[in-house]
């Protein structure tokens, strides 16, 4: 009986097209004879289409198909991947001190509204500098943003005060908005006219343009926010080449080409963008299912992870079967760094102000641990292959300053394992612990409690046991570790830091004393490093910046607040008919460039 009731209740789900949000959008053009459609898959789900919605990495990628930012990364350019291209901004200028920025917006960028009833006649409206001010304020507003934090925190004068006012309650937020709107923005963030945007920074920030390419700074239309209210995260109205035709959370998102889009020229010189009529993004959590879909040619692109790597990739190339079908391989450059962070407040390993003799001994202990770290074993057991770049410095190899940075390893040839171990034993003895005698069992916090984490812990323990150091692994949930380490109640922890943009400060910020206990979890406080960091942020001269990075890395090498392990990257397989794919490390899925070429 109950089952019959349930059957009736669920029967409605089989009725077709209930969830299809596709209406007569701007892309509702007559079907092409052979629509160019591409299908890609992600392991994680999309959660929001609101740029201010605090979404994930996948949300950012999907939002970039619909929304646009002032600038974007130049996907056609190679290392160091810092070159930017105009997007909504036609061009920009900055003052010599790097604090004053003027953006001039292009005059052919329009919002496209695919929903009924449409907001504007012809479903479009030009983008103005006022929209940029509104979008950035909205992203900063505590009440309207689901995110904790905002893009230009501490960077634009008045923005922090605006944020603080909006966090004091709805009345305070309304007053802050009223004041901002009456003045056409903030004193340091305002529209001079419909096309000119003026931004004054509190300091010269080397990553400012990169921040202007982040999806959370994308430009939204005030009318669309007002119309959709809380549902705005499901009804994106952007200026990009695609519009969201359908989104089934937990299953897929489908994008269609905006009819009559302005048609920017392709950086590859093969015509106006976009080339795709349709883009379908599947959310497929199981790697085996993704692999099956790719092998059945139901996906144009496959990100190869974990166990599938050994089967699909051989000797750095697609396996014989895939190669015969013309499948190609693209490496995905790393944007994150794995490391073991040492609590510098720890009495056994840390740096205690005023205790110079003790600090010298503890430094030797940290150096010994870093030299005895089992890099080769880690690469085999944890990475399971060759898809991670070993950390020879604190920056990945493609970063501009990386080549000039001193290599990690305290003067020992990083490849010579036996030599490294010998020196580690010597340093350990000099620290007062010959063969590890007298040294208490060290504790490494690990999370989450999965197979890879446990394997990593075993590899570390085994590696350090070679010099007589005993290690206890404390495996817990990510939340437990987060709580313990934020409180400073740990000795060492494994950590992966994901970079947001291709600038050394992104990574080096975790060592800056002013970063607070969450980012600077190791509680590293070094006056020289901090001075270097602040000088780096204050200068616009590229050569000087590189020199400061080298100087900061030298300080880190000397103090060993972390043991860098590797920069895990990735691999992507491509079907032979998909062209123009560039895996820019900070804008990897630029689907508007993708082109389907008939075999």
């Amino acid at each position: 009986m109950a089952a019959a009731v349930l059957l009736l209740a669920c029967a409605s789900v089989l009725a077709p097209a209930q969830e299809r949000a596709d209406s007569q959008g701007p892309g509702a053009r007559a079907p092409a004879a052979r629509p160019a459609a591409a299908r890609i898959a992600f392991y994680a789900q999309a959660q929001t289409f609101d740029p201010a919605g605090g979404g994930t990495f996948v949300d950012g990628i999907l939002q970039q198909q619909v929304y646009e930012t002032l600038v974007e990364y130049d996907c056609a350019a190679g290392a160091p991947y810092t070159r930017m291209r105009p997007l909504l901004a036609e061009h920009w200028e900055s003052s010599d001190d790097g604090k004053l920025w003027l953006f001039v917006l292009r005059d052919d960028a329009h919002f496209h509204d695919p929903y009924d009833p449409p907001l504007w006649p012809e479903r479009t409206r030009p983008v103005t500098a006022h929209d940029v001010v509104y979008s950035w304020l909205r992203e900063t507003d505590f009440q309207s943003s689901a995110d904790n934090g905002y893009a230009f925190e501490g960077l634009i004068a008045g923005l922090d005060e605006f944020h603080r006012a909006t966090a004091q309650g709805a009345d305070s937020a309304a007053a802050a908005w009223k004041e901002a709107e009456s003045r056409g923005g903030l004193a340091d963030l305002r529209a001079l006219d419909d096309r000119c945007l003026l931004v004054r920074l509190a300091r010269a920030e080397p990553s400012f343009l990169f921040l202007c390419a982040e999806s959370n700074t994308a430009v939204v239309a005030r009318e669309a926010v007002a119309r959709s209210g809380r549902n705005f995260l499901n009804q994106p109205v952007g200026t990009g080449p695609f519009y969201l035709a359908e989104w089934i959370p937990g299953s897929q998102a489908q994008f269609r080409r905006v009819s009559g889009w302005r048609g920017d020229p392709s950086p590859f010189g093969d015509g106006p963008l976009p080339f795709l009529d349709e883009l379908r993004v599947l959310f497929v959590p199981e790697p085996s299912t993704r692999t099956q879909l790719f092998e059945a040619q139901e996906l144009e692109m496959l990100s190869v992870l974990g166990d599938a790597y050994g089967r699909l990739v051989q000797d750095g190339r697609p396996n014989a079967e895939l190669s015969a079908r013309g499948v190609s391989l693209l490496p995905v450059l790393p944007v994150s760094m794995s490391m073991i962070t040492i609590n510098m407040d720890d009495p056994v390993l840390g740096m205690i102000p005023g205790d110079e003799a003790g600090n010298a001994r503890r430094l030797k202990l940290r150096q010994a641990l870093s030299l005895a770290f089992p890099y080769e074993r880690w690469a085999q057991a944890v990475r399971g292959g060759d898809w991670a770049e070993r950390a020879r410095s604190f920056l990945p190899a493609y970063m501009a300053a990386s080549a000039a940075c001193p290599q990690f390893g305290h003067g020992v040839e990083s490849g010579a394992e036996a030599q490294r171990l010998q020196q580690a034993r010597r340093l350990l003895a000099e620290a007062g612990y010959p063969e590890g005698r007298g040294l208490e069992e060290l504790v490494v916090d690990l999370a989450p409690p999965d197979r890879v984490t446990r394997t990593g812990g075993e590899v570390v323990a085994e590696g350090w046991s070679r010099i007589g150091v005993r290690v206890r692994q404390q495996v817990g949930s990510w939340a437990e570790m987060q709580q313990r380490t934020t409180e400073g109640e740990f000795q060492m922890m494994t950590r992966t830091w994901t970079m947001q943009y291709p600038d050394a400060t992104d990574l080096l910020t975790i060592f800056y004393g002013g970063s607070g206990p969450v980012a600077n979890r190791g509680r590293f406080h070094d006056a020289d490093f901090d001075r270097g960091f602040e000088a780096y942020q204050a200068t616009t001269d590229a050569a000087q910046r590189d020199a400061l990075v080298v100087q900061m890395v030298q300080r880190l090498n000397a103090a060993v607040p972390v043991i860098p392990i590797d920069f895990p990257g990735g691999t992507v397989l491509l079907q032979p008919w998909l062209k123009n794919v560039r895996m820019h490390p900070f804008q990897p899925y630029a689907c508007k460039y993708y082109r389907i070429e008939a075999p």
């Binding site: 089989l14 929001t48 904790n148 437990e480 607070g516």
Partner: protein, 417 residues
């Protein structure tokens, strides 16, 4: 019957109270970790953590910039942390501790005490007031400790520590509000602001569209095969016994991708993955796999029930009186095993609403199973709380329905207290 229904309903209400208590322990006691820390992630500042607590309802007010605390003296590093309703400053080795009790004081009084104080011989504290010091001057000073909870700071002679202020909402009050909201059907929003209630409903429908046909098919098939095996015995019974043991031994995690590869990717009889109209085409293979993998345990259980009934004296008597085998099966055996079959099947129904986590993941059915797994992975406690509450309520409802169904099928069952 009505009295029994009411009695069971009352006991279900008691269980619901128990469930809500468990929800308190799991979600509001911090057992799963501080949701603010999980939400803000590794790049958070102390201010972001405080604002996340404000957003999550752990704070009702938050002032990030109360004052900056400095220390002067010989090189030394202190840890500044909250200790109950007091501020504690201790050296790294813990040899020296200094506490400032905050209870019963205002922010102004507490800041005045900190400014110029000496936490240990040779060291002196000083304060630089922030924009919030004036605004919160008369607020209770215990808010300084509340803001520092879970995010202690280092303070040394070269660098100050930021003092913030917060009005904490007690866990029991948060719990009461949330339980009230859940019972009113208000499930709140996800971390990114998606309404949970609407999503739960649409996902439950999809889970049921997958689970109910699979469940009915599997139960009917298991019952039919069990009766057949019990009546025929011999080689058929032995073959089904071997198949049952094999079927129960196979891991679903291994079997699902294998069958998916064979039937969908290799033979192309079904779509591999997806969810779009016509939806039923995407449900066929998951239902088939669920039916095939799920029937064996039921088959063994039903077979032993049927065998037990077939050996009862009344069955032999009925046969001796000339009743046909089919009629005996239908009117006597089947009817008598119906109570345990119903009890077992109906109590399995709540799990159906959650669908099969595995099957939904492998085939892309956007049901409740995937929703739950994603919430676990992203640490979205609002979703987890709602799903836990919903499944507990479903369990109670279906237990009640199972009880009524059994009483209806066998009046003797209903006569028992």
């Amino acid at each position: 019957m009505l009295a029994r229904a009411l009695r069971r309903l009352l006991s279900a209400a008691g269980l619901a109270a128990g469930v809500s208590l468990i929800l308190l322990l799991v979600f509001d006691s911090g057992l799963l970790g501080d949701p603010a820390l999980i939400e803000t992630g590794p790049k958070a500042s102390a201010q972001r953590i405080g604002e996340a607590r404000l957003r999550l309802g752990a704070f009702s007010a938050y002032e990030p910039r109360l004052a900056t605390l400095h220390v002067a003296g010989p090189p030394q590093r202190f840890v500044l942390r909250s200790a109950g309703d007091a501020l504690e400053l201790r050296t790294l080795d813990g040899s020296q501790r200094w506490r400032v009790p905050l209870t019963g004081r205002t922010v102004q009084q507490a800041l005045a005490e900190l400014d110029g104080a000496s936490p240990a011989p040779g060291w002196r504290l000083s304060l630089t007031p922030g924009p919030g010091a004036q605004e919160r001057a008369q607020a209770p000073a215990s808010g300084i400790a509340a803001a520092l909870r879970g995010a202690s700071q280092s303070l040394d002679t070269g660098r100050g520590a930021e003092l913030a202020w917060a009005e904490a909402v007690p866990a029991w009050r948060r719990y009461g509000r949330r339980i009230g909201e859940l019972f009113r059907g208000d499930f709140g929003v996800t971390r990114t602001g998606q309404p949970i209630g609407a999503e739960l409903w649409s996902r439950a429908r999809r889970s049921l569209a997958l689970a109910v046909p699979a469940f009915l098919l599997s139960t009917a098939l298991a019952l039919a095969l069990a009766l057949w095996a019990a009546v025929r015995r011999g080689w058929l019974d032995r073959v089904l016994a071997v198949l049952s043991v094999a079927g129960m031994s196979v891991s679903w995690v291994a079997a699902i991708p294998l069958l998916q590869r064979w039937l969908a990717a290799d033979l192309r009889w079904f779509p591999i993955y997806g969810w779009e109209p016509p939806y039923w085409t995407y449900l066929l293979l998951p239902i088939l796999i669920w039916t095939v993998l799920g029937l064996w345990a039921d088959l063994r259980f039903y077979r032993s029930l049927a065998l037990e009934e077939l050996h009862q004296e009344y069955v032999r008597n009925a046969r001796a009186q000339g009743l046909g085998g089919a009629r005996v099966l239908r009117r006597h055996v089947l009817r008598n095993i119906l109570v345990p079959v119903l009890a077992q099947s109906v109590s399995a129904l709540p799990a159906l609403a959650l669908g099969s986590l595995l099957i939904e993941r492998f085939f892309g059915v956007p049901g409740l199973g995937g929703y739950t797994v994603d919430a676990v992975l992203s640490g979205d406690q609002a979703v987890l709380r709602a799903v836990t509450f919903l499944s507990a309520m479903c369990f109670l409802l279906f237990q009640w329905l199972a009880d009524l169904a059994c009483a209806w099928a066998d009046p003797r069952y209903g006569a028992r207290p």
